[in-house]
Amino acid sequence: MFFQDLSGAHSSVEPATPQAGRIANLWWVMFYVSVAVLALVTAALIYAVFRRRSAREQTAPVDLSPNTNRERKATRAAAVALAVTIAILFVLLGLSFTTGRAVSFLSNESPLEIKAVGHRWWWEFQYVDPVPSRGFITANELRLPQGRQIVLTLTSNDVIHSFWAPNLMGKKDLIPGQESRLIFRPEKQGVFRGQCAEFCGFQHAQMGFLVLVESDGDFSDWYNHESQQAVQPSNDSEKRGRQVFLSSTCVMCHTIGGTPANSNIGPPLTHLASRTSIAAATLTNSRENLAKWVTDSQKIKPGNRMPPNVLGPENLDDLLNYLTSLK
């Protein structure tokens, strides 16, 4: 499973969008300039320290009236260094400005609009559709069509969070009471990972999310499917599992579309089984992980808002059958 190795999936220097690409270019320019400057300064320092002094330079204990010729030469050299420094800084400043404009540029084409709401400690993604009945809310996993402009509007339900998927774009803070915006165009298909980047409490460290960039066709299929209500249980065990869900603590916090469970405190589970990960991109979505999470999430993410649930083995089995059927 992709969870084997995430190292390329959240890297600022492996851009998957033109916006991240421009930033990565700026990074490399600044990096190489910095290496050069550091090398020059270090060389000058080493030379200054270890240069061989003539015997004449050793005579007086302290140099109170230095050789004006050498002083003049040194002043000229310092002035040149300063001029070069200022020039480099202005070039970098100009590059910053052009990069900044490029990454915030909103083109005329109609974008895919998604609203992200930060919660402690999960991500709510609302796909906004011009036809309201086709819009839907999902959690912790963002699917995007390749090549389309995405406008992500960000706000928070509680404290300040920060949406950061390094391969896609820089980060933006989610501030309660305000709306911020990210614009980007994913151009490479793949799975990318992001994480909350503003300290938000106990489980800030494990408030991750996944971004799956797919072809237009795959994305439309997924989109249409997400707009639907939850799959009906197909056998007795799943029916019993649904009953377990509706008669336990689950129903207080979660939504499963088409059932009486309609709470917004926790992430919606309508299409839980179609997600690649659970627990805010902390665990792979597997039956075993789901069992561990449902019975004792506090062990995996101490301090998170989901309570431990003690369920008998049969009930747990039925519940898992139901949950894993929610494609």
Binding site: S34, V37, A74, V103, S162, Q178
Partner: protein, 662 residues
Amino acid sequence: MINERSKPGKAHIETATLDVERDRAELERSWETRPGFIGWLTTTNHKSIAIRYIVTAFIFFLFGGILAALMRIQLARPRSEFLGPDAYDQVFTVHGSTMMFLFAVPIMTALGLYFVPLMVGTRNVAFPKLNAFGYYVYLTGGILLYLGLLSNTGPDTGWFSYVPLSGPDFAPGKRVDIWAQMITFTEIAALVAAVEIIVTAFKMRAPGMSLNRIPLFVWAMVVTAFMIIFAMPAIMLASSMLATDRLTGVSTHFFNPAEGGDALLWQHLFWFFGHPEVYIIFIPGTGIVSTLIVTFARRIAFGYTALVLSLISTGFIGFGLWVHHMFATPLPQLGQSFFTGASIMIAIPSGVQIFCWIATLWLGKRLELKTPLLFVLGFVFTFVIGGLTGVMLGSAPLDLQVHDTFFVVAHLHYVLIGGAIFPLFGALYYWFPKWTGRLMNERLGKLNFWLMLIGFHLTFFPMHQLGIQGMPRRVYTYLPETGWGALNLLASIGAAVLTAGVIAFLINVFWSRRHGAPAGDNPWNSDTLEWATSSPPPSYNFLYIPTVRNRYPVWTVEPDTPVVAGLRTDVREALVTHTITAAPDHRYELPNSSIWPLVLAAATAVTFIGVIFTAWAIPIGAALTFIALVGWFWPNSEPAALEAERHRSLPTGDGLSLEQQT
């Protein structure tokens, strides 16, 4: 008092015989600190108080270091269970708060409090009782924070404590209140030190030390002090607003968007302080570096004027950068661009300083690579890296990627440890002989330096890569699949090496106090006035106030250099001079030892600790403060004639004159 007889720049110089033994005996008597515990509590000697600051701040440095070690142990492996999230959150918050508020600023201002009076050639700081009060208030703040940590009430919302996370809704209990009040205590102490440094440096200089002749260290401390005065009120305001948002019966809504407040208001107020704060820590480091380089290169500073102007412009521009901590917020982009510009431009004065220092070394004599100089070289290399990553962070679009990641953690440690702590350690080695009369051990010193340098880079360089590879800040753990484990382990190993370096330093300190080579007055053959008196200096600093004819008084001292005679030796008296030209102006009586600073500090403590629990602490504390201030300012009764005699102005024939030293 100025009367028409005192003309700036013209002094009456006479040759006379000075009764050195009698003057010394009387000065010893009038300036002595009473022995015993009470004497220790009531001293107003700036050197004792500064040493207290330094020792206390260093102890807090060690505590902060222990917390850092705990963090590195936790992060060495993914999904480690060494510290849970609650414990880790308290650890990183208290680590940051300790280092920034309880260590870095106090130790730098302490070096100023010790050396500014000595370097400008006077007997004490301008307001000795206030100085003592500042220390007690600082100590209270530090103890408050650590009592909190030890009782599970340590703040846990980060050293910059963003709202709404630190507001009453999401930070239950008293943890954040303790943080907010610790801020109040430490900022009062910083403001006190700033006032002392400015007034002492401007008004109490030795005759002849005009503004263009003061040592670069004094310039650095003056700029720092001005920055403190303009920056600290912002955070005192912010922390008070946060405290009242949380306070029973008060419950304001400064940061509640639903009632007209704004979560971003906190960030603006905090960072308006927070950015100058890091320059408050860094600029004294540059003062130290200038001092050390001039000493070790054994020549005058290259570009004195340029260095001074760089200090001042860094101080100014430093106030125009704060929004670069907020580039990821929805502030308008045009506004953010100004701050990108300023953030990149502030590299210019720093660059000027680096070039001047390298030029001084280049043109200087053959350099003896003693420990202080090694720390200076380590500083240049490390700080330049930190400055370059700072330019990267100052660029808004690039900052959007690396903000709030380990890249920032790397950058901040490079500029703070490289830019301030390496010079600080160099300063400790350099001035240890002045404080104790003994030199520190060179071999241990070199071991200390190399362990710290290698350990530091091993710890923090990999963090740049971790930030680029997506690791955010303030995470108590991370998934193994992210691939961050290897670099984190390397960083933790580096931390162990760095710790070994600090331990080597401590061993060196304790060994050298007993067995270090005797230092004499001026073991480094340095040029500033603190080396013109004994090691350690007497309580009255100088038997006679010196006079100065150029920037390098000790190097250019002649047998017939005049000194100031006629200051009273039976009471504590100092000389006040004109701000720009340092011509003598009038005498100034300094207070003796006093218990009132401690009493006022206790009243302050009751007020601000009480306000964590109830708003009644304000009126009660105000009453106690009033009582303490009455005691503080209670006038001494004395015959009017004596008082009049003491306030006469200078100079000619009135008993205060510039004498040629015999």
